[in-house]
Symmetry: D2
Subunit: 339 residues, 4 copies
């Protein structure tokens, strides 16, 4: 039995981690932190998950006193770096669900997050935790930058085509739609029920959302020529679920069958990827799961391909993927606790 801690247990990703770890047969949650709910029992916050109900929520400072095999960070930017460093120094492995360890270079981090990285030396050992594309490095990593929800959906749809050299030219276009839990738990005008219900709107369009940097970086890791995305996220009236509709120009003509066959070949052995063609993905398929559903379409009378990708933003887009990474790091079966 391995031990784990969650730093920042009161947000939606923290809650989802509690749900998932409650079902995990080989991991024990030994610490869960919150500066505000410090002293309460975990069972008071999350009545439906009885396994860890008697765990007393503590501060991050207190959690650091314990020896834990692995720490999940669900903290604001910079805070993550700080606590990640402390726990690494104590010998714990670290999976950061925020953005502090997703970039390869401190300059990229600074460009997209507007602040210098406090521990640039850690970026070298950090691995971008997308198991379908970095599995070997994740197994031996001590520090994981867990991918953002939008990048996860977009990259899983795009990378097979990028790697195969089928993308003719930039930009690649990603039009994404996310449920409101992606906007976090803090009550704001945007997350007010009356504003979000019966409403769709784009936000941070083009290349203004921070996830653009992350998508660009990972596309270019697998591309032989530079690629950049045009990326527009939209808020849609649902709690969970994220949909990415991806469009790009093909280098040479391919049928719908060929496009989907490429996806099927690339992801054949993947436990959490399903190619649903001739259906199209739907976020409902992925709800409360760690799966990503994909299908591609050749746009007739054009040289364009469209690829559609559906995940649960709190599952494969956050906590589910973090548990998948944990399983790899501990040498457990990759699907343990996730199916």
């Amino acid at each position: 039995m391995k031990t784990a801690a969650i730093l920042g247990v009161t947000g939606y990703t923290g809650e989802e981690l509690v749900r998932l770890l409650s079902r995990h047969p080989e991991v024990e949650l030994v610490a869960a932190t919150s500066e505000n709910e410090n002293g309460k029992k975990l069972g008071d916050l999350y009545p439906p998950f009885p396994r860890f109900r008697d765990l007393t929520i503590c501060t991050a400072e207190q959690a650091l006193q314990q020896a834990v095999d692995l720490v999940f960070l669900c903290l604001p930017a910079i805070e993550s770096s700080r606590w990640g460093k402390f726990f690494l120094d104590r010998g714990s492995r670290v999976i950061d669900l925020g953005a502090d360890f997703r970039f390869s270079t401190a300059s990229a981090y600074e460009a997209w997050y507007g602040t210098s990285h406090p521990f640039p030396e850690l970026l070298e050992q950090a691995v971008y935790g997308l198991p379908e594309w970095r599995r070997q490095e994740i197994r031996t990593a001590r520090l994981i930058g867990n991918p953002g929800c939008y990048p996860t959906a977009a990259l899983l749809a795009l990378l097979p085509f990028v790697q195969a050299g089928w993308v003719a030219e930039e930009p690649v276009l990603v039009d994404a739609k996310s449920g409101v839990s992606g906007a976090g738990k803090t009550p704001t005008k945007t997350t007010h029920y009356v504003e979000a219900n019966e409403n769709v709107n784009a936000y941070k369009p083009g290349r203004s959302h921070r996830h653009v940097g992350e998508i660009d970086q990972e596309l270019n890791r697998h591309s032989q020529k530079p690629l950049q995305v045009v990326f527009t996220p939209h808020l849609v009236p649902q709690t969970r679920g994220l949909y990415a509709s991806v469009y790009f120009k093909l280098r040479s003509a391919h049928s719908r069958t060929e496009l989907n066959d490429l996806l099927r070949q690339r992801y054949e052995a993947e436990p959490f990827i399903r190619i649903v063609d001739p259906q199209l993905p739907a976020t409902r398929m992925a709800l409360h799961s760690n799966f990503c559903f994909l299908a591609a379409e050749a746009v007739k009378d054009t040289s364009y391909a469209a690829v559609f990708s559906a995940i649960d933003n709190l599952g494969k887009g956050a906590a589910g993927q973090a548990v998948q990474n944990m399983n790899l790091m501990f040498g457990f079966p990759e699907t343990m606790g996730l199916c």
Copy 2:
């Protein structure tokens, strides 16, 4: 006081027409038809609209016995043509909310609807009822093809740039999101609450939806070179509201301000168009109205523009636009009964 009839009053567009005509000071609804609800009072179907509550629903055959100034057709394809022809021959003006009179040529109709047009000679006199782009012809038309919901949102966003010659090359990309009322009133698996709620999915992607033909036709009417769209509609969990996110390559660089200024200049005098930049449109802004909300963005580090468009699919996307067309045909103030 002018008289109007609604053929096919039981669907969502028929219901919305009843709501709008209930508030119209210069039009009297004198006939409303349904083959299934024939004999009932309109007030039994739609309790909240008392003005026409005592109107007895009749068959289309019976409606034809009355003299009416204008007929709204909310009927299946081909049925629309048939009844449109009958009423035109009786001297009524006709607004078809279906697709039978949206195409300029019978061959285009046949290409997209898979059946030959029963009255190709009527297509010559039919006017595509997008007032912001065809106002003069609508005023004197006897037969209007009321635009589809997706084409309305997409064309209002695109045409200013197409007309100004700012679009560098095809394809133009339209990623659209619609509420479930756009799928019609017949209960199906797709419209079941449990399937549609907490779900987003693409359908008929690329160039497979019938509205592609309509968008292509109208873009090319105002373009100096051939243009075609890549168009993917998505279903989102809300009753009403349609959002179009439009992307295209610019012929030469333009700032966000320049893009929005072009929209503002083109639509300055339009009563139902609002440029909301520096905000972005949201479908909630347009709910239960005949307005279209627009804003444009220059995608940094690329030569691409993004334009966002929000309408109510039953308002500007169907019944509202039909009443706007009626106002023009009758010489009424264009906003009568719509603000």
Copy 3:
């Protein structure tokens, strides 16, 4: 043309008043106040309502400098009293959409709102603005306490039976369900989309919600013996719409037909009440309208009656009813601007 002002135009009832007055042919909005949005144009806040788009939002202090025929108060408790007094002294009529003028006595106000009433002398002239039960007094009133949303739905269902002496004994039971707009515009944990979506919960159950005092007061005004309610409000995942399910013991046996006939007779001439039996009311019927839909049921094998009542909480439950009251006070047709 009469003039009106809205004090507190940024909340949901203020917004709904703007929407309704935009369609009113005999009233001009001459002032709209907000301490926070002071200086903006009304059209920037509410783009879809163009009629008053150029009105500049001002402070309550500034609004007081103008002569207005009628003022709508959408303000916090006590604030309402204060500004109501100022405007009454200036000769304006006042409709308070809050609770400050709903109670007949200062002691009742204090009992339910926990603070002493600042102008108890005004309570004598204030009229409880439920037109179906106080029409004559409303016509000549200078000060109206516009009923709460829950009391409106409950009283319209109950009062015919109370007045007819058909209620055998207390308590009368009211189980009510409201959309989230009833919880106001301030972002809170309760109104966060993720908390409210896919959720139903009771709150302030039994006799702990402030609307209990209001319902009790009005029931007893029309009852020959003392009556009190057991009242539990619930929050349901929708923006608008309020449903009250009312249960009481009958003094003597009555069939469903007799129960509904009593409702029909009492409300026969009412423009905004519809008895939908043999259907049951649904909040969707009332959406965006000033109607109340009612139906009654005799519970078989018992001596109990159930009455169901559906309104739009922002329509008949707030702004719609306020406009109905205004129409009565100005001698306009009661339905003007509301159908």
Copy 4:
């Protein structure tokens, strides 16, 4: 490892059983039937549940050829009886998620379901599968009538007070609210997204819903004097979740604390019941779980108690409870696969 079959796997309860059995470590699904989807793989119907993806859906006739330890029936009334009988005769244990085996007598079944029971002799051995109140009989039962969703929520709230003799008189009042998945998977006007969204309505009010018979029967099993309910179900716009608000007159005065203490004492050892007082239950607490959340309130100034109960209608209200019953019948830990 035990073996199980699901008869009628395509409805919402069948789907939920597949989800739950996918996580069960001691049960293998060996047959899943559907007359319409016969021949497909289970993984094509339900992509997110990979464990049984290769199971080929067969007919009930074919399933009967296999030896299975336990059969879940998700079939229409009467069909359940017929297949239940066949499988019992073959030596399988049977859990019927429909109503055919919920009544103790054939006359009660006929009174509520309007048709005579085909195998009245089976009713004697059938056990009403509410584990918190019939655990010992369930352990040894061969045939279980799994409770309805509304009765589960209502009975768990009421029975402690009924058993303790605290209920003064009938009727007990149950006002319940259910998500749309409770209405089944067949597309109808009621389940159309546009009709169900932004809508609340009562249906089958008073004593006209079939679950009344079931609630009455079980209340009277534990009551010393006859009791009947007034029960009104409502449809609310959410996929899953059921809320029961229960009101009754107390024989003698009790404080809120005393009411909740009775609940706590009665359910202290229950793994799936949580008393959340001083909070109130919310359906969101129970979502995707087998838990029931309860809290009671003493209505001040009256002799009435209110008890609130929240479950997931597909969890504790159907498939979750069925798996709980299966665990008891097989001698497994009661929470296996459910936490």
